[in-house]
Each structure stands twice: as structure tokens, then as C-alpha cells.
Symmetry: C6
Subunit: 273 residues, 6 copies
């Protein structure tokens, strides 16, 4: 494994997302990141956490200024806020990740918020308006957020059925930044940088990514993440033939449908003849 840690998280800006996020942070306006699977939302927030708190970072993979929670349907308010645990002699209180962020002044990033249980969504209301308060029902405390604290959430608008679950009363509490996959020239740079593959293969993998995403207009919804393109590059770099690497890292990871596989392989035929 290459030694990529302990440097600034690499992020290639596509538009004015860094400026707008910085402006929103200046007024402590909560931010929503919208965009498809694997287009760079997590990397962006890591980059911003590094950039806004330059003195605070230990390593790329352990940012002191960023507390990330991957939301899921069993995630409760208790998981976020904290709970009482039983010790040798008594119970003691343990902060959850949101409470830690509120106290310490970190960015709290709730990834795929719509997947969480509803009490989670409501919990953030008083943190996202002028009050900036976190009520902790179980202890009776009402925390005033640290002045550096910011709440950031993400969701994928491509999942239509889930979209409707983010209630307008929640959604209208955020500035909303939109993300999409990078253009091919930039994506080639990212692929080359993230794995050891040469520039020519990186360029071809980026072209492949763009052509696969164009299938979205023909009913293949998902697109391919930059991550999978990098996986293919890693396998190539480890000595696997390019077309084999594409088969296992991209085609089989995207679909089980024989017709879609055929379409993906036709694209690969063109890009990697």
C-alpha cells in the first residue's frame, strides 16, 4: 500500500464549490451536498475540513475537524447524541458523534441522511437555525454549539423514492451544493494520481467512465464511480491485463444483467481495442 496519508486530501475543484462552501461556513449556514454515488462528495468535505482548520489535522484518514457518520435505517438519535453506559459502580454518559462535534467545534458530516431514522432528521433542526442548540433529552442538557461547528449532510437525488423522504421542513435549512462526476481530463488526472497506472491507461479509463455514464440517457441509471476506474487501474498496475481488470473491477461490479454487460463490453472494445 502506497504512503498517501498525512498530506492534504487531494480534491480537484470542478466549479465554484470551494468558494460557496467557504462563504456558507463564514455565516455558519448548514450545507447539503447533492450528487451521485462516488462522485467525490466525501473527498470534498475532507478537503474543506483540512482547508478550514489547517492547524488541527493529524492525518488524511483521521481528520480532527471532521466527524463523519454514514447514515442507515437503524441509526437513531441516541446513536448520534450519546447514551448512558454502565460502569463498575454507576452509569456514565458517553457523547455520540454529533455531540462530540457540537462540543469540539468540528464539522459533522451526516452521509446519506435520508437513510437515517426520522428522529435523527428532526434532531438537527435546532442546530440548523439561529439557535444552534442541541438538546440532550436524556441528560436534560441543552448544548450551545461551539462557534466552529457546522452541520453538513449529503444525499443522492438519483434515488427517487428516497428523495421524497427529506421533508421540505428539513431541506429548507441548508445551502445546497451540487456535484457530478468530473470531466474526463480531470478524471484522468485523478486516476493517474490515485493509483500507479500510466497516463495513457488513465486517459483511456477516464474515457471509458464518460462513455458508461452516457448510458444513463439510455436507461442504465447508475453510472460508474471514479473509485471503480481507480480499482481497474490498480489491477492493471498489479499486472492484470487491462480487459480482465475492466471485466472484474467495472463490468461485474456494475451489473448482473447480460444485456448491460454486453453494452459495457462493447464500450470497452472501443476504448481498449
Amino acid at each position: 500500500m502506497s504512503a498517501k496519508t498525512d498530506v492534504e486530501p487531494f480534491y480537484l475543484p470542478i466549479g465554484d464549490e470551494i468558494e460557496v462552501f467557504t462563504a456558507a461556513y463564514k455565516s455558519r449556514l448548514p450545507v447539503l451536498l447533492k450528487g451521485p454515488t462516488g462522485c467525490g462528495k466525501t473527498r470534498f468535505i475532507e478537503h474543506m475540513a483540512w482547508r478550514l482548520f489547517p492547524d488541527l489535522q493529524v492525518s488524511h484518514s483521521n481528520l480532527q475537524s471532521l466527524i463523519t457518520v454514514s447514515c442507515h435505517e437503524d441509526l437513531t438519535a441516541t446513536d448520534l447524541v450519546g447514551r448512558y453506559l454502565l460502569d463498575q459502580d454507576s452509569t456514565f454518559w458517553q457523547d455520540g458523534p454529533l455531540t462530540r462535534a457540537v462540543r469540539s467545534g468540528a464539522i459533522c458530516y451526516l452521509d446519506e441522511i435520508v437513510e437515517a431514522r426520522k428522529d435523527t432528521t428532526v434532531l438537527i433542526h435546532s442546530l440548523t437555525d439561529h439557535r444552534r442548540l442541541l438538546p440532550i433529552d436524556k441528560t436534560g442538557e441543552v448544548l450551545q454549539a461551539h462557534e466552529s461547528f457546522l452541520l453538513v449532510i449529503s444525499y443522492n437525488p438519483g434515488y427517487q423514492s428516497i428523495l421524497k423522504d427529506l421533508k421540505p421542513s428539513t431541506r429548507q435549512r441548508f445551502v445546497s451544493l451540487v456535484f457530478d462526476y468530473p470531466p474526463p481530463e480531470q478524471e484522468a488526472l485523478i486516476i493517474e494520481r490515485e493509483c500507479g497506472v500510466d497516463g495513457s491507461n488513465a486517459q483511456r479509463l477516464a474515457t471509458l467512465g464518460q462513455k458508461v455514464r452516457n448510458l444513463r440517457d439510455h436507461g442504465f441509471e447508475e453510472g460508474v464511480s471514479t473509485r471503480l476506474l481507480i480499482y481497474a487501474g490498480e489491477l492493471i498496475d498489479n499486472g492484470i491485463a487491462a480487459r480482465t481488470a475492466i471485466e472484474y473491477a467495472i463490468v461485474q461490479s456494475l451489473t448482473d444483467d447480460p444485456e448491460v454487460k454486453e453494452a459495457l463490453n462493447s464500450i470497452a472494445d472501443i476504448v481498449f481495442p
Copy 2:
């Protein structure tokens, strides 16, 4: 962040809501606040809590006379009333937010009551008639409410499917105040006051808000909250171009639908040419 706390919560009355609330409070009649997302219900109840208990306030964001609970589908009667916790040697009882309000004589504001579990709704029945009692099943206590106590709830009648969940036997226990977005002149004043944007931009943002809400008659249900207009003002005040600020604070926060975005941008073209 500007130092807006520790002063009376700013509220610009639209109609006779302050007089009617004061009269209802005089007879301790419970009050229901009806209205759309972000139209000022929370600010109104903060204002009334400050106004009715002038001697009691610590700061705007920490009103001693107001205990707010954001309701959600996992909120139980136990969360509101209290629970036994385990200490070093024994269990002890901890009041929930409703019990604290009942004992101390605060206003208890249950925001979006219809989202809470049904046992919550029933719990308030004996507090909202001539008895003004809160039975605490777990301790066997029956609390007579403090003479200053009042119960206030809110809900959004625009969510049709939820509306039917507020049973008539609950609903007919409240005086009902109706709220809507402020007229543009007043909203411009609010925007200017809440963020540092100049009067001209504030006026244009208010006009934008009004025009977006008029889309409701054309099938766009949600409207835009005053909060989002203020967000756009904050971004402008922090140096972001007006149209960029509107794109991220308003358009992208309101919708993911390309056609609705186009309609919103056409409105922005007119107001911010």
C-alpha cells in the same frame, strides 16, 4: 457571526395573532399554530414566551419560559414525561421536557405534533381540559399544572396525508392560529434585519420569494421559506454573486426537478436581471 442574541426575539406581527394568543393565555386555553414550513411559527412562540414572561429570560436562544420539543415518529410519552435512570446505588427519576414545563410553569411547545407517536398525543388530553393534570404512570404521581403553564402545538396543514392523523378529539382541544408567509414589504424588512444585505437586495429577495410562492397555484407545493431568502442574503453579503447565491441557497435547496429549476431560474432572471 453577528451578536443577535440576548435581545427580544424579533417578530413582525401580520395580523391579530399577538392579541388572540394573549387572550387565550389569559384563560390558559391551549393553542395550535398552523402554517407552512419556515413561515415564522417558531419565532412567534419565542416572541410570545419573551413577551409574557419579561423577567424570566436569559437569552434569545435560551428562553427559560419556553420548552420546545421537535416531534418525530419515535418520540414516546416516556421521552416527554421522564424516565428512571440507574445511579450508583439506586434508580432515580428524571423529568422529561413536558414534565419540566408542567412543574415550572413554562410554555411547552410541541413542534409538528402529528409526527409524534400516538401515545404522545393522548398524553396531552388531561393537560388541555379543565383538569390541567399530567398523570405520570411510572411514578404513580398526578401533577397539577403550574398556573403559568400552557401547551402549544404546531402542524403544517399542507402535508395532507399527515393532517388526518391529528384526531378531532385532540384537535378540538385547541384555539387555532393560522400563519402564512409575510407580505413582501415586511419580508424585505426581516431579510435586511437578519443578514447584512442591503435594502435593495433584500427587497429583490422578498419579491423573488413572493413569485416562487405563487407557483403553488401551478403545482409547486412547497413555497420557499423566509430562512432560505436570508441564506441567499448571507451568501451575497459574504461576497458571492447574487445569481450564484440564489442557485445554491434557493433553487437547489427547493428541488431536484429540472423543470422546476428552470421555472425558478426564469423567475430569478426577472428579479435579478
Copy 3:
């Protein structure tokens, strides 16, 4: 707030309900109170509890002979019967409200029984036949009810979908008293007595109530409770104009539907021209 407590709960009989309840109590036959929202069922049972146990009462709002439980979908048998709690050194048993009534010989009033969980409904079977027994599974006790004990339940037959939930095997264990809103002359007396409004306004509010209830034949199901008419009277008594009071206490509390509001306002136009 007026000093209305510590006197006999005011109840104006409409038919022979007092005589039949007294006869049923003489044979300890369980009683079911049927009727719409806010027509006086709760007040009636308070009145009977006062009347049948004249020596036992502390105050109107704290009747020693009546234990009321508002049922809801999370109410379990354990909530009614009791539970073990953990003390410093051991667990101890705490009676629930039904067990307290069974031991002390009070009337136990289960309001809106059909809302409770099914185990609750079954629990009362052995209390409502010749056995008059309450088995407490958790302690292994089988309580013989105190000779004064009586079980009374209520439900609202207007909620059709709920009605079918009261199983015949439960329903056929009760004598069933039917309640409806009082005729206007009586309702005017009640309004005048309960709030400080003058006789003329009380009469007009009662007329308004009657006319609103007649809309039931035109598809407006709910009727208006006597309570809301009293609320309007309270607001008038506190200096709010009559039509404003009616708007907030009655019209907005009854509906969100613009057409129904218009119909209600037309009625108000006639009664309060």
C-alpha cells in the same frame, strides 16, 4: 383562572343516563359510554363518581373514586396492571392504575378503549363477568375486585374503521349508554356557566353549535364540541371580537378545508351578523 374546583362536577342530564348507570352499578354491571368527541362523556363519569361516592372526594380535578386512563396504541397490559421497578437493593412491585382501582374499589375509566393494544382489551375480560378477577401474571397474584370497583369504558362510534376493532366478545360484556351533544337550550346554560360570557352570546354560540352539527348530514362528519364553543366564549370574555373568536376557536380548529371554512363562516354570518 376562575375558582371552579372543589365543587360537584357540573353535569346536566339529557335523558335517563343517571338512573340507568345507577342501576347498572347496583349490580356491578360494566358500562360502555358511546358518543362523539367532546359531548360530555368524561364529565358524566366524573359526575357519577362524585355522586356514588359522596364522602370520598378531595376536589373536582382529583376524584379519589375515579381513575381515568386515556388509551392509546402503545398502552400495554403492563401499563395498566403494574410493573417491577428496581430500587436500591431489590426490585419492588408498583401497581398500575387498573390494579389500584381494583384494590381500592374505585371506578376505572378506560377512555377510547379501542385505541389500546389488544392485550389490554383481553385483560379486562375476567373483570367483566361473574368472576371479577384481575390476574397479575408477573406476580402470580389473582386479585378479587373490591366490592365497590366498576369498569367503565368509552368509544366513539363515528370512527368507523376503529369500531370494528372492539371485538363482540369484548363488547357483549357491557351495558351501553349513548351520548350526543346537548340540545341548544341546555348547551347555552353550560356555556354560560363554564365561561364568563353573557347569556345572549352563550345562546348564540349554542345555536352556532347546533347548526354546525347539522352539517354532518351534508358530509362534514365531526361536529363541534361543547368545549370549542366555551373556548370562543372565553376569548370573547377576554375582549376579542366575537367573529374573531369564532374564527380562531371554532372554524380554524375544525378544519383546514377552504370550502368547509366558507360553509362555517356562512353559518357564523347568520348567527353573529
Copy 4:
């Protein structure tokens, strides 16, 4: 209240049910009682428990040889078998009602078995074949049933949707006795005996019961239980007019449907002119 306790439970046999039950008990074959609401199944099993164990009874309402459990949808195997409770120093085991019956050799009567949770139904399998074993998973014990023990269950075949829930693998473990309402002459005797009403009114109430049950062929499914006829008799005996007693004890207890009420009142017109 009349002193009817401490004597043999009154039961008037309709067919050969006493002989067949006695024969089944001789071989310890489990028995299923089928029949509509309030037709006498509970009274029959009380009578048999008294009859088969004449030396064991304390009182009619507290039969040592009979342990009755009213089943409901929250009833679990743990409720029937027992659970660990926490005492001052340790946990201790407490038998549930089924385990008490298995150990002591009583009849265990599971009323409306199909309402219970499925684990309850399966639990009884090893008690109803040649093994006569009750495995107690939580303690690791396997109890051999006392030689006097018998399992008896009941259900109401009129509830069609529930019927299918009694799986054939359960049902084919029982001898099945069928019950129905008694013929009018016998029912008149029962009514006269159970309440103080005179023979003429008892006869007329029994006739009323028969006619109401004939409505079953015209779409009124439920029939009227003997219990409600006795309630009407009790009210008459306490001085309420016969037609008023019938209205409250029978008509209103059977239905909320105006047309069915009218049909029932027409029958009452004929029987109590």
C-alpha cells in the same frame, strides 16, 4: 351483589358434552371447545374442573383445578412458561400459568388460542401428544406433566379470518367439542337463576335472544350472548323499565348501525309489546 359463590358452577348440559369430555379426560386427550361468543364455553370448563376434582375447590371464582389464560396477540411463550425476575441478591425463576398447571396437575384453559402469538401455539405440541412434556428453554428443564394435567383450548369458528390461523398440525391434536347457544327453555332457566328477574320476563328475554340469533341468517353475524340477556334482567330487577333495559343492555351493546338497531327494536316490540 348476591352470594352465588362457593357453590358448584351452574351448567345446564345441552348434549353429551359432559360424557365425551369425561371420556377424553380419562385418556388425557386434549380438548378443543368450539363455539360463538358467550354461549357457555367458559362456564362449561369451570363446571368440569369442579366435577372432576371435587375435593380441590375453594370457591366458584377461585378454582384450584383450573388455570385460565385469555389469549391475545401479545401473549408470548414466556408469559405462559415463566421468566427470571431480579431479587435483592440474584435472579429467581417464576413459573407462568401453563407451568403451574403442568406441575400441579390442573386443567390449563387457553381461551381464544388463535389470538396468541405463534410461539404459544407451538409450545403446546409436546404437551398434546404421547410425550406430555413441557420444555422450559430458559432453565433447560423438561417437565413431565403431572398425571392430572389436561390442556383445553377454545376458539370461535365464526371469525373466519382467524380460523385459518389454527394450523392443522395444531388442530389435529385435540378432541373437538362444539357449543352453541342453549334452546330458549333452557336459556330462560339460566336467566332466571343468574339474576333476580321473574320467570315471565326471563322467558321473554330468552325468546328475544332466540329471535335476535335468527337474524344471523339475514346477515347480522354476531348473535346475542346469554350474558347480555342476564344484564337486561339485572337492570329490570333494579327498577329500570323493560324496554329501556333492553335498549341499553342489548340493542346498544350489539350494534351502532341504525338499520340493525331498528330491526332489533322491531323484535323487542313483538316480545315486550
Copy 5:
């Protein structure tokens, strides 16, 4: 009750099921028993447990080499594997029935496996392939099964909707033995042996059983178990008339449908004229 215990469990083989089971056991291949309600699956496994472990048995009803679990929809992996219990000073671990069998080398028989919760089904995977391992998540142990251990499960293929719940990935781990009701000559022998009825009545009951099962081809799905035929024999042996015994032990136990009852009675008319 007759003294039938402490002898080898009686089982009359129909085909080569004993040989195949013995061969499967020799290679420790897990076995699935398929067949309708009450056709002898439980008795067969008792017989095999006795036969394969002749030195280990205490009594017929308490086989040391066989641990039976009747599965139901609330049965969890924890119920099968074991749990921590709280003792005076600490928690201690208690094996569940599956773990006891794995440790001691007994046959574990999971009756009606498809009724259990899915985690139960998955739990047995590592016990049914070459690994023969039982992982105990809660203690961190991974048990290697005793060399005598075997897992046996059963299900009833007649319950079509349930059938599909036994996933192929589970099902393809078992050798599958098929069972059906015995032919009439053999069933007569079983009936005569199990109850005291004479050979002529036993023969007629077996004939009745065969004719009832033939109704399966005419839409009566369930068949009649050998057990119910024995019940009828027991009642006859205890002095009940044959047709009465058949009515209560067979007809009423099989159905509530009047037409099916009539068909069953017509068959009884022929066999017991």
C-alpha cells in the same frame, strides 16, 4: 394411562427409510424429513435416536440422544445457541438446545424449520458442511461438533406458501427422506397397538383414514393424522359410541365447513354403518 414408556419407540417402517438414514448418519450427512401433519416423522426420529444410541436411553419420552425443538416464528438464534443469565454475583452462560446437542453428540431435531426466524436457518449452515462448526457469537467460541452429532430438520411440503421460504442454499445441504401416511393394514396395526380398541374397530378406523385422505384429490387438503384415528379409538375404548367418537375426535377436529363435515359423515356412514 397405560404404561407404554421405557420401551423402544414403536415404528413400523414403510420403505427403506431406516437404511438410508443409517447410511446418511454413517457419513454424518444432515437429513431433512418431508411429509404431512401427523404421518410419523417425529416417531421415526425417536426410533432412530433409540436405535443408533442403544446404550444411552433413559425412557421413551426422555431420549438422551435426541434434542427436539419445535420451531416457530419467534424462535431466534439466541434461543437455539444460548444466552447469558444474571446470577447472584455475575453473569453466566447457558447453552441452548442446539449447543447442548453439538457438545454432547446428540441428534438435534428442528421440527418445522421453515417456521423459525431466518437467523436460525443461517446458523445451521456451518454445521451442515465439511466444517461441522457452531460459532457462538456472544462468547466468541467456535465449537467443533462432537463426532456423534447430527442435524435433522423437518417440514411439510403441503404448505405451499411456506415451502418457498426454505432457501435452496439451505435445502441443498440435506439428504431428504419423504414420509406419507401408512397403508391401511399397517395403520390398523398402529391404532390397535396405541390404544386399547379391538382389531375390528382399528381396521375400520384405518379404512376411514384412507378414505378421508382420498378427499385430498377432491380439494380437501389436510388429510387426517394417525393421531386423530387413535383419539377416536381411545374414546370408543372409554365407552363412547363409535359414531359419536368419530364426530368429536375426527370430523369436528378436521373442519368447521358444513359441506366438508357432510362429506366426512357420508364416509363414516359407509365405514361404520
Copy 6:
């Protein structure tokens, strides 16, 4: 039972799966194994765990470098990560299987991942990207994975309804290897090696397997696992006739459908005439 343990797990490679897995492991790319029931996925991962960590193995059935979890619908994040247990004096933390693998650097194999609860799926996100972190919410720890750690998951794409549950945001985090049943010559070698059956029968069983799988094109979806072919071989080796062995080990284990059984027997007629 034959002494097959303590040697390298036998695996016959079909394509380039060993090379691609080795290359993916070199870059620590997570791997997804796709394929039908019983085609060798589990054996492959056992083989790779042995091959990549040759010095670490105790025995074939107890691989130190491989921690396998069979997923099911009740499997929670807590089951994977760990939980607090109560000891004599205090609580202590116990790692779950995923945490043990993350700490010790083993391969963690989550078999049939789509069956697990959603929180499980989300939990693995931060372990499958550049961070390689496992957050343990309950202790507040964030574990950096051991450098040898790798996450491997499997699923069966033939279960269409389940497929859609593996969200693209999860799926696009894995290199995907595809498995299918081995060709007949190779499968015959496997059968002969795994049980004592002779080469001729092994060849015929493999041919039978191939022909049964061809039925998939005619609507019989499941195919037959290599395991069942080996079972048949074991029974033959234990003296059961070949056709009898096929009936019980293959035909009855595959289906309850008479028509499918007939088709399977026709195939057996050809292969074992």
C-alpha cells in the same frame, strides 16, 4: 469420518480467479464473490486465506486468517462490531467478528451480505475506501485496519428480488469475481476426491449435475450444488443403491414438484440406466 482436515483446502481453479484475487489483495481492494448456491465460493475464500497466509493456519476447518460471518436478516452492526457484556463487577467490551478481523489482520468474509440488516451494509463503507477505518460508536474508538485486513463479501445474483437491495453505493466499492459450477471433468475429480466413490460413478454424477443445470434454461432455476452430488456419492459408498441415493440426496432435496421430479428422474434414467 475420513481424516481430510489439516491439509490445504482443496480448490480447483476454473479461470483466472486466483490471480485476480491476489492482485486485488496486493492493493487491498475489497472483493465481491458472485455466484449460485454451492458452486464453491466458500471453498475458494478458504483456499485463498490458506494461500495468502501460509504460516498462520491451524487446520482446514479452523483458519486463523479467515473470519466468516453468514449474514441473515437479524444480523446487526452490533453483532459484527461487538458489545458490552456485564461481568461480576463491571461491564467489559467484547469484539465482534468484524472487529477481530480488523484488529488481527484477517480476511473477513461476509457471506450473503444482502441478507443482513442495512446498518451492516453501511458499516463497511469506511473499511472499503482509502480510509480503511472501523468506527466503533459504542466505545468512541475509530480503528485503523491492520495492514493485512481485507473485506470480502458474497451474494447470489440468481435471487432477483434480493439483488436490488445491494445499493450501488455499496456495490461500487468492490472488485467482483464471478463463479459458476465447474465443468463436468473437473467436477468429477472433485466428487471422487471428496467422497470414497469410484471414478466411474463420480463421472456419472458429474454428468447428472451438468444435465440438471441445463434445466435452468427450461425454467428450473436452482441447479444442483456440487455438495449434493457428493452426498449421493457418500450414500453409494455406504452401500445404498445408486438410484436410491440419487432419489434421496438429489431429487427430493431439489424439489417438491411432481413434474420436476419426473424430469429429474428421466435424466437419472439416462445417466444411471
